[in-house]
């Protein structure tokens, strides 16, 4: 098998995807990453989406909007999610990599985290492989 690796390509397609995310895109990405934290915790607890909706006292449609990245999380929503998932809610401001001296005014990024209250064994997050992934993925989850 010959794999020729050409480094540093910069064709039109790569340039299009290389544009840095703007503020709105970064917000959407953070929302989706928050949902990943929530979904990971739901997996541990074997909790379904309707269970989460019930525990958060919100509609299933609201959970769907959260999954779509359409929901604008309020602190209350995040706290409700943490409570529903038996987690402590943590937030922090982390300096950008480009400002190692500290939090530059107006440039800080907020990160959220859901930490389980009780000590639990973490799920194995090993990477996928071509042979095994199709069997492991849940195709019916909605």
């Amino acid at each position: 098998m010959k794999i020729k690796i050409t480094k540093g390509g910069s064709n039109a397609l790569q340039k299009a995807f290389g544009v840095p995310l703007d503020f709105e895109q970064r917000v959407e990405m953070e929302k989706l990453l928050i949902m990943e934290s929530i979904l990971a915790r739901m997996d541990v607890l074997k909790m379904k989406r309707k269970d989460l909706a019930g525990a958060m006292k919100v509609s299933s449609a609201r959970i769907t909007a959260m999954l779509d990245g359409k929901n604008n999380f309020t602190l209350e929503t995040l706290m409700r999610a943490a409570e529903a998932l038996d987690c402590e809610f943590q937030s922090c401001l982390k300096p950008k990599a480009t400002s190692p001296g500290g939090i530059a005014e107006g440039t800080s990024v907020q990160h959220y985290d859901f930490t389980a209250r009780s000590t639990e064994t973490k799920r194995d997050e090993t990477g996928f492989s071509v042979e095994t992934v199709a069997e492991n993925d849940n195709v019916d989850a909605a």
């Binding site: 794999i3 690796i5 790569q14 990405m29 989706l32 996928f128 492989s129 992934v133 199709a134």
Partner: protein, 147 residues
């Protein structure tokens, strides 16, 4: 026989590359047309790809989901757009696990979408067939300042 993979993004956990078999430019043209005709959809697609690449096992099936009945065929879903992909690991590359984008379409009605899925599955099968014939594979990484 030639397989061309053009890296679109390399994240912490995964990389996404666009597939071109036998110099077919359909996917590249689809994505570039999307960028010019519907920049908001393209931006959402770009954000979704970067999010998928940021976590080891992406769970949100509203955005990234295995296609029912097709082994190792996935769809990246943004409103009105479907990007069909499959997962691969290429030994010898420094990149993490690879998600190969094979075929993109404006989301049609259900009946026609099944035809799109069949077409995407055929591309994946063609890739596997060519792979077994000891092809020349070219992988074009992105320049580092564009991630």
């Amino acid at each position: 026989m030639k397989i061309l993979l053009t890296e679109l993004y390399c994240g912490v956990c995964h990389a996404v590359a666009a597939l071109s078999l036998q110099e077919n430019k359909d996917l590249e043209e689809f994505l570039l047309t999307l960028e010019s005709s519907n920049p908001n959809a393209f931006k959402t697609l770009n954000t979704t790809i970067k999010t998928i690449c940021a976590v080891p096992s992406y769970r949100n099936d509203r955005k990234f989901k295995q296609v029912k009945g097709a082994k190792n065929l996935y769809e990246i879903k943004i409103p009105g757009i479907r990007l069909y992909c499959f997962k691969e690991i290429l030994r010898g590359l420094e990149q993490p696990s690879l998600i190969i984008a094979a075929y993109g379409r404006i989301k049609p009605k259900d009946k026609q979408q099944r035809a799109d899925i069949r077409h995407a599955d055929k591309i994946r099968n063609d890739y596997q067939s060519i792979w077994e014939q000891d092809p020349e594979i070219e992988y074009i990484t992105k320049s580092e300042d564009e991630n």
